[in-house]
């Protein structure tokens, strides 16, 4: 039986998050062959985290019965400002990283070309290459997870900006004097529609005596609350949770309208844990509110869609980056 030729043709995408690291092995056609996940343990410092990333990469390769020789390149998404030419993480508050030469460290350990980008930029790139076959010129990616981040594709290319921090849409103030945000300001998009802020709102209301089926499901402290629980509560007829989610969707719609007014992209794609779990409950409100608030003439022919990539947007984008960079 003839053996498959041992060409370095597979690609790896890594999503480096504040709490977990996800790695996926992909074919050149962006089919996922296998995945692995480890906790980040950022508290142990950059060297230990780099070691954990490399271990996660090895695990993912092993999961699909390959070895490092078959890997053409690795694309890594990091949660912060990234100098992608040098593969350096400039700062990543969730990891408490400053100026970490991630590309260099990983290449030394693995002997495979490594490319680094901002995580939301990578998610946007992943969606762009695998879900938007019409290749629109200008695309905005909005990812609602614990926090909210964004990625911009302008003229077919990622736009990182002067300090490589473009796309920090979660800290766009949309309600001056509104809810307090983790960044210290008030009324940021993230403080009004991010998962953390929704959970805090619910927990605080429950402490103040609000009735909800969530406490029947999870106990009075709601400690293990997840996005999926909100969907379950709404399906069970919980009007309180429904209202909280609707408000978040309205704020998101206003944020989308702002960004359409500012950037006038052809496609706005929403993703992240909150959208994955609550797509049916949120998307129609987001789209309606955005079209209602955006200036006349700005929205003609614009699509506002939910990504189907879910948690895999980051690793998919990483593999896309690795393919782009290792072929150029």
């Amino acid at each position: 039986m003839p053996e498959t030729p041992q060409k370095a043709e597979s690609l790896i995408g890594v999503d480096l998050g504040g709490t977990k690291i996800l790695a996926g092995v992909f074919t050149g056609g962006m089919k996922c062959l296998g995945k692995a996940k480890v906790s980040t343990k950022a508290i142990r410092g950059p060297d230990a985290v780099v070691e954990r990333i490399c271990r996660c990469v090895h695990d993912a390769i092993d999961e699909c019965d390959l070895d490092l020789k078959r890997i053409r390149g690795i694309g890594v998404g990091a949660p912060g400002a990234v100098n992608s030419e040098e593969g350096r993480v400039i700062f990543a508050p969730n990891l408490k990283w400053e100026n970490v030469a991630l590309k260099k460290a990983m290449e030394k350990e693995l002997g495979v070309p490594v490319f680094v980008e901002n995580d939301c930029n990578l998610c946007t790139l992943g969606v762009y290459e695998t879900e938007l076959s019409a290749r629109p010129k200008h695309v905005l990616g909005i990812f609602l997870g614990t926090g909210i981040g964004g990625g911009l594709i302008i003229g077919g290319k990622l736009h990182s900006g002067f300090n490589r921090t473009a796309g920090e849409i979660g800290h766009m103030v949309i309600e001056v004097g509104g809810a307090k945000c983790g960044c210290g300001n008030r009324g940021c998009f993230e403080a009004l529609a991010g998962r953390s802020s929704l959970f805090k709102k619910i927990q605080s209301a429950v402490r103040d005596g609000q009735k909800t089926v969530l406490t029947e499901m999870l106990g009075p402290s709601l400690e293990d609350l997840r996005s999926g629980d909100l969907r379950k509560a709404i399906k069970r007829g919980d009007k309180f949770v429904e209202k909280i989610v609707e408000e978040a969707a309205e704020y998101t719609g206003i944020a989308v309208a702002n960004l359409i007014n500012i950037l006038n992209p052809e496609v706005v794609v929403l993703g992240g844990g909150l959208i994955d779990a609550l797509e049916d409950e949120m998307m129609a409100i987001i789209v309606e509110t955005a079209f209602d608030y955006a200036m006349p003439g700005t929205t003609e022919g614009i699509e506002i869609v939910a990504s189907k990539l879910g948690d895999d947007a980051g690793i998919t984008g990483g593999a896309v980056l690795a393919r782009l960079m290792s072929s150029s």
Copy 2:
């Protein structure tokens, strides 16, 4: 005495506004040789306005003792969405124009190449080419006049977006449920810091009994209120007017921070009538508020400056566009 050669080397910029048309003749080095101004009279319809634009162009040429043969090209800024390839104004609410073939009509009348762009894009281009000699890659122009508009230069090029409406920053909502905007929404940047909204706020407060030196200066109805009057009132120690202007500057600072978070430009340049008249009173507050609100890491090395072009930003940008397009 040898005559100057009759080469078509001069450029014309036209700023087509809702109330007035301004035309300026420029050398290739962007020195203004002469200007002319006529009222727009949009109510008479597009054909009449085109005729008035052409008359204004003739007046400006005559003002500097030239004739049309010496004009290499004309760049026109229109207040709305513009298809610049075709030189067509897609829609311009202040003129009540839809789908006006401005380039074609003007070229037929004048026999000189005409190029059309959105007015705030042109202002940004004018500032970029004549005031920002370091040629930053990414620039955001913010123009505070009757309303508020913006222009984006990304990667050294104007970014117009999918429907050519990018830069509608005046309708970015920054205070959900805030002051009512002419667009129908509430809490738009323009409704909080545009000249019209400031004037309305002052006039409404005066009707409610607020004391201000403005009524001594202009009479109780404040009918002929101008931006410069606000500066004079502040200089005369009017704390009420000072507070109104400070609030507008704070809102502008928050809007600038939002845009830095989203786009991460290298330079943010502010212009327009309100900034021209109140630069000393507003700029320091705008810069301080923007740096305070923007995410850490996004603002390093970013400049926030006021343009010195004043009312000439549009015609300068028009001449720059004409130079760019007629040399390519």
